[in-house]
């Protein structure tokens, strides 16, 4: 008995070994290294100098960093909820029996698999104040035409709109999977009891989708906090600091200005922020997520 268990354990470790090695080399190692780097002054080529908590102290007084945190929160607030609502509506619409259903699903999913860099470029043309398609459409219906990416007020909303368009298809697919896992007999029983369509949604669909909603929420908050490409391609963080996001600022510090220590410290603040928010959501989900 004892030898069998030991042999089994040995096999288990043997099979886990590649994964453990990969985890240590590509996850745990860099994690520890980045924390150590955050305690130093290091410009990549010159030998690192010890800084202790100096980088973190510097962070406290760096107004650009806090602006970047604020912008990232703005972006997150602007994208997460609309993504959830739109994705749910799309999923409900495309879950019905209809013609060319798969075609529509594909169309909505296309932006997700398109390269963000290319998409961001195309959108910056759409947003062109003089000859962009969006302002052309706005002019037709006599609405004001903002300067979009060149305006301190509208640059962030422009990026938010584009990002929602880019990612909503992914959330939609998750919702579709969630919808399809709801057993049909629940609906049948409710219909027999005289429930109308709104009742069905309110008492069956929505509660049984809460695990999906929770998953989408967690993933999209984490994703939103890491927003980078849009700011990098479309606005370079401007005008002014209007679209300087946390990861864009980290990138600049690390790979444009070569302050590796300072960038690592910011990355750790980002980690703590994301971790904190995820824990908060995990704690909160007990109150509203309903498992079958």
């Amino acid at each position: 008995m004892g030898t069998l268990r030991r042999r089994e354990a040995l096999w288990a470790y043997a099979l886990l070994f590649p994964t453990i090695v990969l985890f240590l080399v590509f996850m745990a190692g860099p994690l520890v290294a980045s924390f150590l780097i955050s305690l130093m002054h290091w410009s990549l080529l010159s030998p690192p100098r010890w800084a202790g908590l100096g980088q973190y102290q510097h962070l406290l007084h760096d107004s650009a960093f806090w602006t970047a945190v604020g912008n990232t929160a703005y972006f997150t607030a602007g994208t997460v909820l609309p993504r959830l609502v739109l994705a749910l509506l799309l999923a409900l619409a495309l879950n019905r029996k209809m013609r060319a259903r798969n075609l529509y699903r594909t169309i909505y999913f296309l932006p997700v698999v398109s390269m963000l860099v290319a998409v961001a470029l195309v959108w910056s043309w759409l947003y062109s104040p003089q000859d962009g398609l969006i302002n052309y459409a706005l002019a037709l219906v006599h609405l004001p035409q903002p300067a979009w990416l060149s305006s301190t007020r509208w640059a962030m909303p422009a990026i938010i709109i584009m990002s929602i368009w880019k990612t909503v298809g992914y959330d939609m697919i998750l919702y579709l999977a969630g919808l399809q896992s709801i057993p049909e007999h629940l609906y049948e029983a409710a219909r027999i009891d005289g429930a109308n369509r709104w009742n069905l949604f309110q008492h069956i669909t929505f509660p049984l989708l809460t695990p999906t909603t929770f998953f989408v929420l967690v993933v999209s908050v984490i994703g939103s906090f890491q927003v980078f490409d849009q700011a990098y391609i479309m606005t370079q963080g401007g005008p002014g600091y209007a679209t300087t996001t946390l990861v864009y600022y980290i990138y600049n510090n690390a790979f444009q200005w070569f302050h590796m220590g300072y960038a690592a410290a910011q990355a750790w603040v980002l980690l703590v922020l994301v971790l904190g928010m995820t824990l908060l959501q995990l704690w909160g989900q007990r109150r509203w997520v309903f498992y079958q």
Partner: protein, 468 residues
């Protein structure tokens, strides 16, 4: 387009837009482990000594081989401008005829990834032999001994460095030692669409022009269409193109970007604020220059070439860009004079990567590329070479008839403002000035905020330099 001069964010964006395909396709690649080991292990002691951290140099051991007895060498060069790659390859081919034992290959890396790539290659010990530097990025590489101190090679080869403009030498000097040989140079002058001036009978710009003449002409040359939207602009000004734009006006107003010790920004001084105010007024008050939102979509070069822009400050690279223009006449004049005549001078430089196995051969090569008659002759077909005499040769050519403005400007040019952390403080300054140009913030406030933030960066820079 001519990436040697790229120092601004918008210029970078333009490049990204144009090179999007390239950007997407360029991976890292290249660093073969074995060659990395070879490069670091076989690094000559002489060379290590010449770049020791204390800055002591040992001249005797590193004397380059006298010409004719060159040992075979395979050199790798890294370049960021696709536009003049064909010319560089031709020059390299000619050099190979002169010195058959030296072979040079070129890697093109788009500007958007260039500095990061250079940095990571250096960090992994597989840097290039010949590296192209620009002003804002030079000190980052020099202070960390990523590139070689050239002074001993210059002394041994009796190279006359006075043939380069003074401020270009200064730009590539660190702790009194020269680290780069200027590859090209750019002063700034005023390009104008002669046909537009002639059409309304306004006198074309010349060396009598002041800021007032400039503004008057710009007002006459700005036209709005029937719907009130501008269809033709008198001139341009923007926060993003410091080199082509506000640096020059600040200098003309006897202002400074940096103090003499390069430890503080002086944009909050009245002379600088006044100059910036003048430029912002062109956009916001007199509306003779396009709004930033227009500039984000169409560069001044595009507007000019479309005949929608009467005047624009620019560097000699525009001469090549404007060559295809057929439907109107254009020429060059000095920038309108402020309290003094002034403009900024910049130019990229050939440097030698510190990991090179062939320092002598590499120096011989870049010396030839920068200062030989043959190389300069080839350069002038395309752009102003780094030497003053080469620039004069370029200026003697036509069209346009007035190229001499650029070589004359060397005499009154000012040093390009650069420190170790140029990119960082320029980013902060540009972000603040953007707000002034957008009319979101007064010039005074923007200049003060820019100065304050830049000074904070310069303070961390001073602390970092102490560590060197």
């Amino acid at each position: 387009m001519h990436a040697q001069y790229l120092t601004s964010r918008r210029a970078l964006l333009r490049l990204i837009v144009m090179g999007a395909g390239g950007v997407l396709l360029t991976g890292c690649g290249h660093a073969a482990g074995s060659s990395a080991a070879a490069a670091s292990s076989s690094r000559g002691t002489a060379q290590a000594a010449s770049t020791s951290a204390e800055g002591h140099t040992t001249t005797s051991i590193v004397a380059p081989a006298t010409s004719g007895t060159t040992a075979p060498a395979k050199l790798r060069m890294i370049w960021y401008s696709a536009a003049d790659l064909p010319l560089k390859k031709k020059m390299i081919a000619i050099y190979h005829q002169h010195v058959p034992s030296t072979q040079v290959t070129v890697d093109l890396v788009p500007f958007a990834q260039y500095w990061t790539k250079l940095e990571t290659m250096m960090a992994s010990g597989t840097g290039y032999d010949v590296e192209l530097m620009n002003g804002p990025n030079f000190l980052i590489n020099a202070t960390r001994h990523g590139i070689l101190d050239l002074s001993s090679y210059v002394a041994a080869s009796k190279l006359n460095v006075d043939q380069f403009p003074r401020w270009l030498r200064t730009l590539y000097t660190y702790q009194g030692h020269l680290y780069g040989l200027p590859e090209r140079q750019a002063t700034i002058a005023l390009f104008y669409n002669k046909s537009l001036f002639d059409a309304i009978g306004v006198k074309t710009p010349d060396n009598t022009w002041t800021w007032q003449t400039y503004l008057d002409a710009a007002q006459k040359l700005t036209k709005t269409g029937s719907n009130g939207a501008p269809v033709q602009y008198g001139t341009v000004s923007s926060a993003d193109d410091a080199q082509e734009d506000w640096f020059n006006w600040v200098f003309q107003n006897k202002g400074h970007v940096l103090d003499a010790k390069k430890q503080h920004l002086l944009l909050d001084q009245p002379a600088a604020i006044q100059a910036i105010q003048y430029l912002v007024d062109l956009v916001q008050k007199y509306k003779v220059a396009p709004l930033p939102s227009t500039m984000a979509q169409q560069s001044e070069t595009q507007l000019f070439m479309a005949g929608k822009l009467a005047m624009m400050p620019g560097g000699p690279w525009n001469v090549g860009i404007f060559e295809p223009i057929k439907h109107f006449q254009w020429d060059i004049a000095p920038l309108p004079k402020g309290k003094q005549r002034a403009c900024v001078i910049h130019g990229s430089a050939y440097c030698i990567g510190a990991t090179t196995k062939y320092p002598e051969q590499t120096f011989q090569f870049i010396d030839w590329m920068a200062t030989s008659k043959t190389a300069n002759k080839m350069m002038v077909s395309d752009i102003t070479p780094g030497t003053t005499w080469g620039a004069k040769e370029w200026a003697a050519a036509t069209p346009p008839s007035n190229r001499k403005v650029f070589s004359d400007a060397i005499a009154y040019s000012h040093e390009y403002p650069a420190t170790l952390y140029t990119n960082e403080w320029m980013d902060k300054v540009t972000k603040q000035l953007d707000l002034a140009w957008l009319g979101k913030q007064s010039v005074q406030t923007a200049c003060q905020a820019a100065t304050q933030q830049a000074n904070a960066v310069l303070a961390t820079e001073a602390a970092a330099l102490k560590g060197h």
